[in-house]
Structures are given as C-alpha cells and as structure tokens.
Amino acid sequence: MKKISRRTFLKGLTVTGAAIAANPVFDMNKWARAQGGAPVKLIPSLCNGCSSHCGMWVHVKGDRVWKATGHADHPRSRGKLCARAHGSLSWLYDPNRVTVPLKRVADSFVPVSWEEAMTDVAARLKSILDTAGPSAVFYAHNPRQTGVFYGQRFMDAIGAPTVCTHNAACNTSLTRGFDETFGWTPGTDMGGAKYILCIGRNFGEGIRTSQATSLMAALARGTKVVCVDPRLSTTAAIASEWIPIRPGTDLALVLAMSNVLINEDLYDKEFIKNSAVGFEEFAAANKPFTPEWAAPLTDIPADTIRRMAREMANARPNCHIDPSWKGAFGTNYINSTQTARAVGLLNALLGNVGAPGGLTNFASIPFGSLSREKHPAPARPTIPRSDGVGVKGEFPLATSHGLPHVLAKKSMEGKVKAGIIWHFNPVRNFPDRKHMMDGYRKLDLLVVIDTHLRETGMVATHILPECTFLERGEVVEGYPGRRPVIATRVPAVPKLHPLTRSYPEIITDLANRLGLGRFFNFTLDEVNEARIAPLKVSLATLKERGSVILDAVEVPPVPPFTTASKKVDFFSKRLADNGFAPCPVWEPPLVEPDRKNPASFRLIHGKQGYHSHTATISIPHLLQISKDYDAERLWINADRARALGIKDGDTVVVTSKLASQKVGVKVTNRLHPEAAYLPAGYGTFSPFQPNANGYGISPNDFVPFLTEPLVGHAMMHEVVVEIRKV
C-alpha cells in the first residue's frame, strides 16, 4: 500500500494514492451524448451545498446523476436552486474523494480496512475515556438533524457534554443577543413589509434561496429595502438605498436610531407597555446616543440616521431590521452581542413582533421520538463542558453551539484529548491557522468523517470516508412556519465507492464496539418512522415526495416571549449578573486601523453567492466562476489605493502579526475606505483538493485566536493589516 506522507501536506505538495478515488476525470459532453436517450428518474433530496439544505429533485439519467431542480414544496428552495446546489452534485464524481478509511502512522496516512480503523478508534477512545474521562472528548459538526440525533446520542452515551458546531464563527452573538431579548431568534415576514433594513445582511451573496426570492419580490413590489454595509454588496447594489458604514460601528447606528424613536416619541408605546420590561432603564442609558454622537463614529450623517428612524416609524409595525447572520452582529466584533441585543430592541420599539411585515417566531414541529421502552435513551451528561461554555470564570453565557477554537487551546493544555468531527472544517474556518493546527494535531485521537480530506483531516489520526449526500438517507428535518414542512433525503444512486459509509452507520458501529449498542438498536427508517408518527405522514409518502407541507397551524398574534420575564427584556438581569451591560450601550471595536498609516486597514470578509466558506472551492464549476472573474481578489477603496500607488489588478502583500501573503487587488468605489475586504471562501491548503489548493487567500490566516468575552466567539473582523504593493 502506498503511504501518504504528512510532511508533504505541510509542504503543500500534491499527493496521490490508493486512498483517494482513482476516478478518472469525467467527460460530461461525451457522457451526455451517449446518454442522450436514457430515461430520467427524479429522486427527492436536500442540497448539501450549504447548511440551508434546500429541497431538490435529483435528475438521474441512466445510472448517473445528471442535474437538479428546486423542490417547489420546500420552504428554503420553493422551486429554485442557487449555483452551489447545481455545482455540489459533482462531489459525487469528484476524483479527490476519500474512498477508504485512513489511519495516521507516524508522519503518513495509511489506507486500512474498516475493521482495523474502527477497532483502533474504539480502543483509543475507550482508553481516553478510562484514563482522562468523558470531559476529554468532544464532537463537532455542522448541526443538522442526522448529526443532532446520532451525534448527540453518542456523546450522551459516553457521558461527554462537549458538542460543538461552526456557530462560534458564524452567528452566536445574534443567537445570544436575541435570546436575551425575546427568548428566541426571530424570522421575518418580508412579504408584508413596507420597509426592510438589512444591517450587514447580504441576501444575494449569503444565500438562503427562498430569502433571496422573497427580498427581491419585495423590492419588485416597491418595498423600501435599505442595506447598511461597509461594502456595496450585490444586494446593496439593487436595494433602494445603500448606507455605507464604518466597519464595527453598527451598534452606534442602532442606538442612535433608537434614540430618535424615543426622543421624538415615535415608538410603539402600547407594545412597550404590554410586552416589555426595563424600558425606562434602557431609555435612560440610551440618552447620550444621539445621531450627532453616532455620525462621526459611523460615518453616517446625523440627518440620514434621523431620516431612517423616522421612515421606519412611519412604516411601523410593517417593517423590520433583519435579524441577519454573521456580518454585523454574528461573530465579527467584540460588540456583536450587544449589537444583536440593540437590533432586537429597535425592532421591539417598532412594535413589529408578530405584525405583518415584522418579526416572526413559529412553534417547533411536534416530532415524535423512539419508544423509550424498546430503545433506551442515554441520559444527558451533567459534568461541565470542556470548551468553557456555561463554566463560571470562562464563558458562562456562551451558547450550546460551543467553542471549537477554545478546544484547540484546551488540547494544547492537555485537557482535551479526543475529538470526532463530521463534515466540518474548524482548522480552516476558524482564525489563526497555527493555533488551530497545533491544537487539533496534539489530540491523541481525532476522527474526521467526511467525503473529502480537508484541512482538519490533515491533522487527524483517522479519516473515515463518508458517502455523499446523493448516496444516503437522512434524519427527517423540520421547518416551522404558518405551513410547516418536513423533508428528507432519499439516495439518488447507489454508493459509487462501496467502502464509504453514512454517518449513522459509522456512529452505530462505534457505539457497538464501545459496548453501547443498546442505545443504537434501531435503523434510520425506524428513527424516522418514530419521528414523523404524530404528523400523519407516512415514511413512504415522505420518501416519494421528499418535502411534505403539513396542515396549517394557528399562529398567535404575538408569539409568546420565553425570557425570564416572559416579556421583551430591555434590561437583562442575566447580563448584569455576569458583569455585562444590562441595556446595550456603546462599546468600541477591539482594534482600530492606524489612521496615520496609509497602509493600515481593517480586514473584513464576506460570502460570495457561489461558494460556501471553503467547502465548495474545489467544485470545478464553482471554482471556474472565481477564475473567470478573478473573484478571489482583495478589495480596496479607490482613494486609499491611489495613495498607496496600487492599481486594479496589482498584486499586494497583506501583513498582520500572524501572516504575510500575496493576493491580487480589486480597486473599487464599492468599499468604505477603512476596510479591506476579502471573499472568505479561498485559501485552501489541503493537498487533497489539488485544483483549489493555493487559490486565493483566507482571512483566517491573518486574524489571531480571540474570544469575545460574552459568548466566546472568534471576533473575525478584529484585525488590522498593512497592505503594500509588491
């Protein structure tokens, strides 16, 4: 058997071997001609191009997956699919898939049998559990139902509480901010809105398909859509208005808009009286934050701030500030959690909760569960988590989505020794490459389950090859709403590589080897039958249709708040008790570019509509879009570029305390002068993605390991870089 040297990984050399699929590059044109007349079957599935999991129909021609179309009944696709959905089909036939289990031996990966891999994984895991205890073990994934069910149950079975997701590099500030305000994170009714304010939310490039459809439908109808963003994104470009803002100061804008509503008596007094607590404290704390105060901080004129507040007041309650994802108040700044709080409260001042065009929150779908008699469930462990979540003195208010970047530190400290990671790439997608690589490499056991060998796999002890989403079923997903929907995947084709396995197969096998098989004595079909039993839909129907719309549910005029007070908390006692501002007040960003240095910028990043982080970069049809438009370039404001003698298309060196890397430049008037903008999907360094390896650079190489004090997120825009022409 051919060995694959781990040293060669780090040199960035291309490596080939029996471990990676020996699948010759497929000539689509030739195949299409040969298959011209073959019958086409339509199989329902859920996309895996991002974690939205849009419903799709997979068109199978002959024995091959041909194309996909959107599923009309799925609430996230509504008959449409984005570029990533179409492109992700080619994962199935990708010659760079992992097709057999791999085990690290010294500096190499060696292909091994499943028996050898699983025996070894089980023995090492048992030994770590016996010697270091379950707190030394973590599990991390992108949280969708199959992982939430099987992964959580496995962790419960071994008594380990540390389950993590990608969210600390995505949206934990908004989750905590809204939870402290309403008790939940709202959705929105774009269809009924007269005015939609997007602060950092970019529906056209951070795509959930049906949200993009809804926003543009609103725009086409004449709804006013205002985008606050340091960058003229493709969404801001077609919005009614673009309000450029100095990065990291969104909190000041939101506080000042609230100030106008209060001072000019424009807020919804009835709603505040009936449904809120702590308004007086909030109003008192808000007094200094006038539009004139916010203008120099945000670079937005005071009159514009006042006008926006008045326009929203005129439109209330049929208007909202979008709850967003990552951009302005997800995980980018030290003030993101308080910004999310302030956005929640500004919505509340507009009295829009439950109103047409306002915020929504729907009851979860009443799924069933396996019979506890036949299928005993393990108890949820009660020992503290190992990533500091919920731990006094660490991150008591962090969310249950966990802190994968803190785990790297805990590993270096010897407190965490084993991890299981499913289809998730924290080493590349959290800041500080060395911190993440060193921490995860030091683990005694790191099992990565994935279709491809990505950066996290490079430091694993074992790689377990997964079949793609087109070759497997899934635990049924649910989408609450006025008309709730349930959906699942059906295998579109048999496994292309017979030695690949699905995640439930792998976890069940591992549980059996640890003597915990009693907690996994069921099939995936049995899980799903139990899950949908109360919903009056048969599994056969669901598998035939893929997405099924359930009966309409009654929606109360105002969804019940689930905070401690059962009202909207303008004053958060919990935040106060933990030493944080109970009412949002201004907090500056952690770092600031040096205004005296013409080469100093804040490095910000965002998504492109045809990539999902670095997961899709090696998909040939999507990578080609990047190449056709040089889309990996760093954006710099035209005036700033001129002062540095930088022209469009030049190569520059970007330098932070951590790294110095070269990249091409896009010189543009679409960006705030203080920011340098990088699209976030590039900078892959796994040699097992040879077509994408080395294409573009990643912001994560420049940002140091940081933890926001309140929820511990990675503060991914808190970095200053110098940019110089090569």
Binding site: K67, H86, A212, W242, G609, Y629, N669
Partner: protein, 193 residues
C-alpha cells in the same frame, strides 16, 4: 408556437451565477464552458457608487447572422424563434463568432460556446434551465409580447433612481429573444446601440 423570449430584469439580479451553473448541468458542460456570463459597470465615486449588471449570452436575434454563417447547420432558428444550437454538430470553425454583433460565441476546445436555447425544455412549454433556477426571479420566460409588456412596465419605475434605465432588445437585429432591462446605458456594457 408564438415567439418566445427570455426577459432579464437586471435590477433584481444579485450575480449569484445560479443561471450559469444550472445551464451547465442541464447541458452537461465542462466548467470552462459557460454559456452565460455577466457584464458589469461600476460608476460613481465612493460613497455615491452604483453597480449595474447585464447578461452576456446569446441574444437570440430575430435576424441571426450566425444561423446563416454556420456551415454545418449547428445553429438553427427554432419554433420558439430562439436560436437553437447543437454542440455535437459544431466543427469549431468560428464563423458564428465572426459575425455575432455581440461577440458572444467563444471557441474553446474546438467548439463554439454559446446558448442552446434549451429546445428540449422550451418546446415542452417549460422555461429554459437558467430561468427555471433564478433565485431572485430576475429571469422570466414566455411569449415575447408578454415579456416586452412586463419589461416596459418596469422601466419607468427604475428611471427614478437610474435615469439611464432602458429596455434593451426591442428592435435590435430583428428584435431580440433576450430582452433586458438595464440600469446603465447599453454602451457602458459595450452592447451596440
């Protein structure tokens, strides 16, 4: 069959490239073979910046020069009056590229890279693959008269913010089967007036 047209309202397009990749999958194309590309114009100085788009793909001319020029009849005028293209017949001679007023066809791997018109879908009364997938409904498909009416309703609304907004394709080359509402002057996209 009445004359059909694809209508693109560029004021709703977010440049997500779903149309391009849906087309590539439907037509089983290599990544480098893109039948749909974008043209863009950035205008104005920060912060008074605008960014506008146009589609670069076959314009489905009413009087297509390429059909007459193609020596092997790989390009034909279809029943829908869209210009259909059969890549398997193409000999890569470049005659279509030489006469196209929009410089659309590229010759890559000895084949002309240009829209097929999706005859299999269109003649079954379905939308072309690009229109079917469009996540913002910037793309619509139907009878050309209906598409023209839709487009003409949209222009005055856009003129408020974009005085140069106009419909492109009503008369050009016998009237185009790709109608676009543009926010910037067509010449700024190098589209001939």
């Amino acid at each position: 069959m009445t004359r059909k047209a694809i209508y693109k309202d560029t004021s709703l397009c977010v440049e997500c490239h779903a149309c391009r990749v849906a087309c590539q999958m439907h037509n089983s194309l290599k990544p480098e073979h893109a039948y749909i590309k974008f043209l863009d114009v950035e205008d104005g100085k920060y912060p008074a910046t605008t960014y506008s788009l146009a589609r670069k793909s076959c314009h489905h001319c009413g009087k297509p020069a390429c059909v007459a020029a193609c020596p092997v009849k790989a390009i034909v005028k279809g029943k829908s009056e869209l210009t259909y293209y059969d890549i398997s017949k193409c000999i890569g001679c470049g005659a279509c590229a030489a006469v196209c007023p929009y410089e659309v066809p590229e010759i890559i791997d000895s084949k002309a890279i240009r829209c097929t018109g999706c005859p299999d879908l269109v003649e079954a009364n379905r939308s072309p693959a690009c229109v079917d997938t469009c996540i913002t409904n910037a793309l619509k498909f139907g009878d050309r008269t209906a598409m023209l009416a839709d487009a003409e309703k949209r222009v005055p609304l856009l003129k408020k913010g974009f005085p140069d907004a106009a419909l492109y394709g009503r008369e050009n080359h016998g009237g185009l089967g790709l109608l676009q509402v543009l926010r910037a002057k067509s010449v700024s996209f190098k589209l001939p007036a």
